[in-house]
Amino acid sequence: MLEIKNLHAGIDGNEILKGINLTVKKGEIHAIMGPNGSGKSTLAKVLAGHPAYEVTKGEVIYQGKNLLEMAPDERAREGVFMAFQYPIEVPGVSNAQFLRLAYNEKRKHLSEEELDPLEFKDLLKERAKVVEMDASFMTRSVNEGFSGGEKKRNEILQMAVLEPRLAVLDETDSGLDIDALRIVAGGVNQLHNSENAIILVTHYQRLLNYIVPDYVHVLAGGHIVKEGGKELALELEQKGYDWLKTAEPETTGAGAQVR
């Protein structure tokens, strides 16, 4: 489904990713772990097409197409979804209005008929169960006044509505208390199936107790420095990242904190 080959990318002239290779097949869950500043979020944003990031080398093939040539909205309509680490507020635009617009864009793209507000309301009600959100969220402005946990649940609700082929979850566990983490992870597990793939970007192992990855990749200094199965995450939890950092001298990649 996704093939990343020797990907180099950065922001404002600073190279952050320095040759990433990664293959994701449908049905798989991959975890990308690593210390702060390792380039995890950069990788997520480059896959989604964030305009501030520049790809300097390498290629990304998604479903047989050159992903890097597509605009962000085109990628989304092709089934690439990114759950944001810091979901953005859109005042005055209701969650339902926003979701319907996004959903219908995708329907149009697939040459399917658009749903009117009433039809969509039913669909939304159904999908909202995945993250245990009630109807009051649908009439509120997108993410405005939402708590940290509500924002993250709202991201997964969007995933539930848009049914992506490839979902990249960027630090979806950050800032969640244990109950919210359980709900969010439960939602992701419900949405995962043999036809889609998920890339989890996370700093901590605890999310992986709930969403069990098939593969774990450790990113440090813009390189993947170690790969393994789910047990690698546990090893990292015990040993931290420092033992890997020493393997790579240039780990303090600048700019990965860009929001």
Partner: protein
């Protein structure tokens, strides 16, 4: 590139010129000019007196150039044409007698005037340069006692009403542009809603400037008698010229006991090109007087056009328990400048006012909100709530807020909230990441920002306003 740049490449689709022979008077302004206008319009002596008085005041006044946050080259008032009317002036006994070229012009603007095509539910007075060329649904309205006609006809047919109310809200010496208007105004609309009547349809005036050299000086007067209600809409467009045209209008509203006037404007005058060449100078005085108890006046404006906008639709809350409202969206792009807002003058007891202002500045434009809330000593328990939000698009635009609050009564309460935000690349990216195109994303964000104001517009107008904002901001991330 990391900044959002709105290119606004969309063409101004109302920029065409109608080729029509006009009766134009020589440029320049003097007492003789005024006498000539009065003669052309066949006006009575009291109108001549009114105009001359205003003119003599005007000569003693200076243009307000210091306090508004706008700048423009000196206007040579002797170089303006003060009267331009399409020839073969229609007698207006019937719409069939209106010049077909004019009918075509308004049809092209989306305002069909002929009997078969008239807009359902909206009566329209169409003003072309200096004169009103047609008014629809007049007979139907008359059955309800509602008077809706051009100002010229009103002076001829309803002199008592005009004498009573003309200048009663905006005196001839009110300000420089109002004085100028009072001296030379050539036409406009008059609405009168008698006691207890709820006007059965929306009333509307469509203003079109066609002549490149002439100014447009129109006058609108709306009087709502006791317990009546009217909703009035105003639309404006002009051709694209590389010279600036002056538009100095005066609008007066009077609401008696328990009456309600809702006044909505979608202003789309030609704004000039990307470098700021051409466009309308929109210097307008709009004021409503809630003269009676429990009366209410609401101004809703969507200002998207004009090179310069200088206007402050205001309410004088004289009657006890009266209500004034001001809902505004002002959008500026490229080199446009806007200094707009409102004045709420609380005189009566328990008077209430609400101000919601949304300013959007794109390109290298400058957008200022200026508002006065004044609570006089006798206005016990007066309440005001003001919310002023500005949104910046790109990094070369400017937004300012100038609130003035004067309270002379300690039982009153005045609240003011203000915010400034920016359409960020992150916001656009977020929406795009959900499959929404960039243009739709900009329009979604802007419409969300303006929601509180759009909710106040009549539905057809709200749709038009949303479309217009989307169009004005069409652009891309550079």
């Amino acid at each position: 590139m990391s900044t959002v740049e709105i290119l606004g490449k969309q063409e101004y689709k109302y920029g065409f010129v109608t080729d029509i022979e006009s009766d134009v008077i020589p440029r320049g302004l003097s007492e003789d000019t005024i006498r000539l206008i009065v003669e052309k319009k066949n006006e009575p002596d009291w109108m001549l007196e009114f105009r001359l008085k205003a003119y003599r005041h005007w000569l003693t006044m200076t243009e307000p150039k210091n306090w508004p946050n706008i700048s423009y080259p000196e206007i040579d008032y002797q170089d303006v044409i003060y009267y331009s009317a399409p020839k073969l002036k229609p007698t207006k006994a019937s719409l069939d007698e209106v010049d077909p070229e004019l009918l075509r012009t308004f049809e092209k603007l989306g305002i069909p005037l002929t009997e078969q095509k008239q807009l359902a539910g909206v009566a329209v007075d169409a003003v072309f340069d200096s004169v009103s060329v047609a008014t629809t649904y007049k007979e139907k309205l008359k059955k309800h006692g509602v008077i809706f006609c051009s100002f010229t006809e009103a002076i001829r047919d309803y002199p008592d009403l005009i004498k009573k109310y003309l200048g009663s809200v905006v005196p001839t010496n009110d300000n420089f542009f109002a004085a100028l208007n009072s001296a030379v105004f050539s036409d406009g609309s008059f609405c009168f809603i008698p006691k207890g009547v709820r006007c059965p349809m929306e009333l509307s005036t469509y203003f079109r400037i066609n002549n490149s050299e002439s100014g447009q000086f129109e006058r609108t007067l709306i009087v709502a008698e006791e317990g009546s209600y009217v909703s009035y809409l105003e639309g404006c467009t002009a051709p694209k010229f590389d010279k600036n045209q002056l538009h100095a209008a005066v609008v007066e509203l009077v609401a008696l006991d328990d009456a309600q006037i809702k006044y909505s404007t979608v202003q789309n005058w030609y704004a000039g090109d990307e470098e700021g060449v051409g466009g309308i100078y929109n210097f307008v005085t709009k004021r409503g007087k809630c003269a009676g108890r429990n009366s209410k006046i609401s101004w809703t404006q969507v200002e998207t056009g004009s090179a310069i906008t200088w206007k402050y639709p205001s309410c004088i809350l004289q009657g006890d328990n009266s209500i004034g409202e001001f809902y505004s969206v002002a959008l500026t792009n490229h080199a446009q400048q806007a200094d707009t807002g409102t004045k709420m003058i609380h005189l009566g007891k328990n008077t209430r006012s609400t101000i919601i202002s949304k300013g959007i500045a794109a390109g290298k434009s400058n957008n200022s909100y200026r508002g006065l809330v004044k609570v006089m000593p006798k206005a016990e328990n007066a309440r005001n709530y003001t919310q002023c939000d500005s949104m910046l698009i790109g990094s070369n635009s400017g937004a300012n807020t100038f609130p003035y609050i004067e309270v002379m009564n300690n039982t009153s309460s005045v609240e003011h909230e203000a915010s400034t935000s920016k359409i960020s690349e992150e916001q656009l990216f977020y929406l795009q990441q959900r499959g929404i195109s960039q243009e739709d994303a900009v329009s979604l964000i802007i419409n969300g920002f303006c929601k509180d104001v759009f909710l106040q517009l009549p539905m057809e107008f709200a749709v038009e306003a949303q479309r217009l904002l989307g169009m004005k901001l069409e652009g891309s991330v550079g």
